[in-house]
């Protein structure tokens, strides 16, 4: 029997990496050409009616949320990292809590709190007879406020770690060169922490661009909600594609700007400075610090969470039924499947990078994990289009075998949904698996080989035990992320697979906030797990 030429080990890894990079390349290849060759009819309609407003709104949001998260995130990080004040240890981790709450939950909860019928305005009317002077939260500033409160922890976390390692030191260097503490903050500490702050800002802006749930609830015209509407209300996949291409363009510009701003500078933390004592704040300064941190925590977590808990309590009897159970089950099953798939692939990816660490392979690995930067709505469109094409081809080929009236094979199947999750969340899993992989040194591996372990035995006896922590973290992170995920699930789920997030979308677009609260509480409670994990890792 003639043998097929065997692929060498290195080639096999290359093929694997190529396939994985297709996960993000294919959707982008479907979407991006629309930038350069717009359909004239759709294009003129978009330019006349939609695009100006969409670009303007995106600009408002990015500017507003960008400034907001910088202001809140950096100031809180500085306080907590460099100063000591009553409750500092509590705020240190509590300020991360908003991470547990998806922006859309924060959104409808804040609407409930601050809208005309909400407790604040009702109380104002009852006490003073008028609340019309209160600015409406259903506005651009309202959306900006909600997204800022939801996304500031990204900046806070990264800036805090930067300040904790070099903040006080930076002040001292400044002082030894004749700068006061205030000058030292602006001229030394802030510029030195810039890459971390910018990293947090980038995450927050990416999330802002990708946000679908909040803008839908606020009826705010953004690219993501427009893509959804074009596809599911006007049934124009081509319009959706065109809009998606614009959104990708904005993301791309953002990434390029950030890369260019770095230039030749390299920010490594030099040396091993001894941990420094925090500067104690006294009296008024300490009170102000506590007040500020409490206010942010109250607005960003305590109040909105309290609101949905209260609603849940009130609607418990009506809502706690078989339907909720099935939504929850769908959420859990999908999240678990996606988490397993993502982690298995992340492990393969990491292993491929280790076994075949060439430049091309590193680039392919980076491409494969790029999906985190692609908004879910774009990914949904970008994956649906090739799958629909493939379906048509398959239907043509197998029309004789298939039962009469078959219109879809892959379309609307669980497989497509899982592939979309994989594309979007591979980076999440890969980060923690790869970090664990890097902790296994080459000499540890060589020592094991030297002792006669090789092949699968090496993997099961050396790699897997050492990777267990990283894998568990990855599983948990992906599980919770999929649980919170809204647009991909909404747009590519198989018929009948409504999840908690989809349920929240359906109810909130009808203004049924009270009924949406119970599934929201479930999601927030799941979301608390990685936050707890994160704060544990730090201690």
């Amino acid at each position: 029997m003639p043998k097929l030429p065997a692929l060498s080990g290195l080639t096999r890894w290359r093929v694997l990496l190529l396939l994985l990079s297709l996960l993000t390349l294919l959707p982008l290849a479907v979407i991006i050409p629309a930038v350069f060759s717009p359909d004239p009819a759709i294009w003129s309609h978009l330019v006349d009616y939609l695009l100006p407003q969409l670009f303007l709104n995106s600009a408002y949001l990015m500017l507003g949320v960008g400034c907001g998260v910088l202001l809140i995130g950096v100031s809180l990080a500085w306080l907590v990292a460099v100063y000591d004040f009553p409750g500092r240890r509590f705020f240190n981790w509590a300020l991360m809590l908003p991470l547990a709450m998806p922006a859309y939950v924060m959104g409808f909860s804040q609407l409930g709190l601050f809208d005309y019928t909400g407790p604040l305005q009702s109380w104002l009317r009852a006490s003073w007879g008028d609340s019309s002077w209160v600015p409406s939260i259903r506005s651009t500033p309202g959306v900006i406020l909600v997204l800022t409160l939801a996304f500031y922890p990204y900046v806070y976390l990264l800036a805090r770690n930067a300040f904790a390692t070099q903040g006080r030191r930076a002040l001292e260097v400044g002082q030894s060169l004749g700068l006061s503490r205030v000058q030292g903050f602006w001229r030394v500490a802030l510029p030195m922490a810039r890459p971390w702050i910018m990293g947090g800002l980038m995450l927050a802006l990416m999330e802002t661009l990708a946000d679908f749930g909040t803008v839908s609830i606020f009826n705010y015209d953004a690219f993501t909600s427009a893509i959804y509407k074009a596809w599911f209300s006007f049934f124009s996949l081509d319009t959706a594609k065109q809009l998606a291409s614009m959104l990708v363009l904005i993301v791309f510009v953002l990434v390029v700007l950030e890369q260019r701003a770095r230039g030749r500078r390299a920010y490594t933390q030099s040396g091993r400075a001894a941990p420094l004592h925090r500067l104690p704040l006294q009296g008024g300064a300490a009170a102000l610090a506590v007040l500020f941190a409490s206010l942010v925590l109250l607005l960003a977590f305590v109040l909105p969470f309290g609101q949905i808990v209260w609603w849940s309590y009130q609607s418990l009897e009506a809502e706690l039924n078989g339907d909720l159970l099935s939504y929850s089950l769908h959420s859990v099953v999908l999240s678990a499947l996606a988490a397993l798939l993502v982690c298995a692939v992340a492990l393969l990816l990491s292993y491929a990078q280790r076994r075949a660490p060439s430049r091309v392979n590193q680039m392919l690995a980076r491409l494969a994990t790029m999906g985190y930067a692609v908004p879910g709505t774009v990914l949904a469109v970008g994956i649906f289009v090739p799958v629909a094409w493939l379906d048509n081809v398959l239907l043509g080929l197998f029309s004789s075998v298939l039962p009469q009236g078959t219109t879809a094979i892959l379309k609307g199947s669980l497989l497509v949904l899982l592939l979309a999750y994989l594309a979007r969340f591979l980076a999440v899993g890969h980060t923690s698996v790869d970090a664990a992989m890097h902790r296994i040194t080459r000499s540890q591996e060589e020592a094991a080989r030297n002792l006669g372990w090789f092949g699968w035995r090496l993997v099961t006896r050396l790699h897997l035990p050492l990777l267990r922590g990283g894998l568990m973290t990855a599983l948990l992170m992906v599980f919770v992320d999929v649980m919170k995920e809204m647009p991909i699930t909404l747009m590519t789920r198989p018929f009948g697979w409504d999840t908690l997030a989809v349920r929240i979308f359906t109810l909130t677009t009808e203004g049924e906030w009270e009924r949406a609260a119970l599934p929201a509480v479930a999601i927030v409670l799941a979301g608390l797990l990685p936050v707890i994990l994160l704060s544990k890792e730090e201690n």
Partner: protein
């Protein structure tokens, strides 16, 4: 000459842990001082107190007669005109070499700042690296940038915290001489902190040995080596052994190998038993001598041999002997003691 820095009876504690215990010393204008000690001896804290990063529990620090800090007040660090070179250099990664050096000069006019930076670059020999970023430089070059940045502001006193500890041994020795030359050339007074005795001796005019938050001795390197005031200093500085002896006169001692008299009174009563410090260079190899010792161990160091010798009683001593005197282990060789400085400590 008046004292530039007076560090008087200073104590400092982190919570309940006392890291500096009523410590005093002073530095003359133009002098380079060095605090030498193991890790955790409090030497870095002394530096941080002078810089103004720590407050004093007790005592007083004066610079040119003006009080910088005492238990009640402290001049803010940035107003002290005291420069500092940090252990990890703490260069600004986002600024070029010239911007790093010019960082503290924002009060100067543009042209003045430029010429000062140029002068500093020339001083540390990095003119061609002006536009580079710190990460593009070697460790030694980064160190020189840190020095130039601190010197650029013309501080009245420069503090150096373990400045050479991140460099390899070769570079460490060369750079420590270079730094001394630069400081002397600029006429800058400085205090450095180190755990490395060679570094201290290479750079400093005065060296202080610290232990457990206390300053044991503050003296020239020569005095520290030849006239240590305590057992700890004697052991810490240089090599040597303590051998038993008996006081036989106000300036004289009897050892196993004979009687020796020094130039200064010993301060012990006749008949006291003491431990006498013998440095390797005190024990001289002399084939003509009747006194012999057996070679127990030897280390060839290129320019010389370090022999460990056993006296007839079994007492070991160290001897530094020229590199041509190659003797086998077990061989008996003639020795003679040349004790110019008699250093003895009461037997414990």
């Amino acid at each position: 000459m008046s004292a530039l820095l007076e560090f008087s009876a200073v104590s400092h504690a982190y919570g309940a842990r006392r890291v500096i215990d009523s410590m005093s010393f002073s530095l003359q204008d133009g002098e380079i001082g060095c605090l030498l000690g193991g890790s955790g001896c409090g030497k870095t804290t002394v530096l941080r107190c002078i810089a103004g990063f720590e407050t004093l529990g007790e005592g007083e620090i004066r610079l040119s007669g003006r009080v910088l800090a005492d238990a009640a007040m402290a001049v803010p660090a940035h107003q002290r005109e005291i420069g500092m070179v940090f252990q990890d250099y703490a260069l600004f990664p986002h600024l070029t070499v010239e911007d790093n050096i010019g960082f503290g000069l924002s009060a100067l006019a543009r042209s003045e700042r430029k010429s000062r930076v140029a002068a500093m670059l020339a001083l540390v020999g990095l003119v061609s690296y002006a536009k580079n970023y710190p990460h593009e430089l070697s460790g030694g070059q980064q160190q020189r940038v840190a020095l130039a940045r601190a010197l650029a502001t013309r501080p009245r006193l420069l503090l150096l915290d373990e400045p050479f500890s991140n460099l390899d041994v070769d570079l460490r020795e060369r750079l420590s001489r270079e730094v001394r030359d630069i400081l002397k050339h600029e006429g800058v007074s400085a205090i450095l902190v180190t755990h490395d005795q060679h570094e201290a001796f290479a750079v400093a005019d005065k060296v202080g040995v610290m232990q457990g938050g206390a300053l044991l001795q503050w003296a020239t390197p020569y005095q520290l080596y030849h006239e240590p005031v305590s057992r700890y200093v004697a052991n810490f500085i240089g090599q040597g052994v303590l051998v038993p002896g008996k006081v036989s006169g106000p300036r004289c001692l009897t050892l196993e190998v004979g009687e020796f008299c020094g130039l200064l009174p010993l301060g012990f009563a006749g008949g006291d038993t003491v431990d006498v410090l013998l440095r390797p260079d005190d024990v001289v190899h002399d084939d003509a001598s009747e006194q012999t010792a057996v070679v127990v161990d030897k280390v060839f160091r290129g320019a010389d041999f370090h022999y460990t010798l056993a006296l007839p009683s079994g007492q070991h001593v160290l001897a530094q002997v020229g590199s041509h005197h190659n003797h086998a282990i077990g061989e008996s060789i003639g020795i003679r003691l040349e004790l110019d400085h008699l250093i003895a400590f009461k037997r414990e």
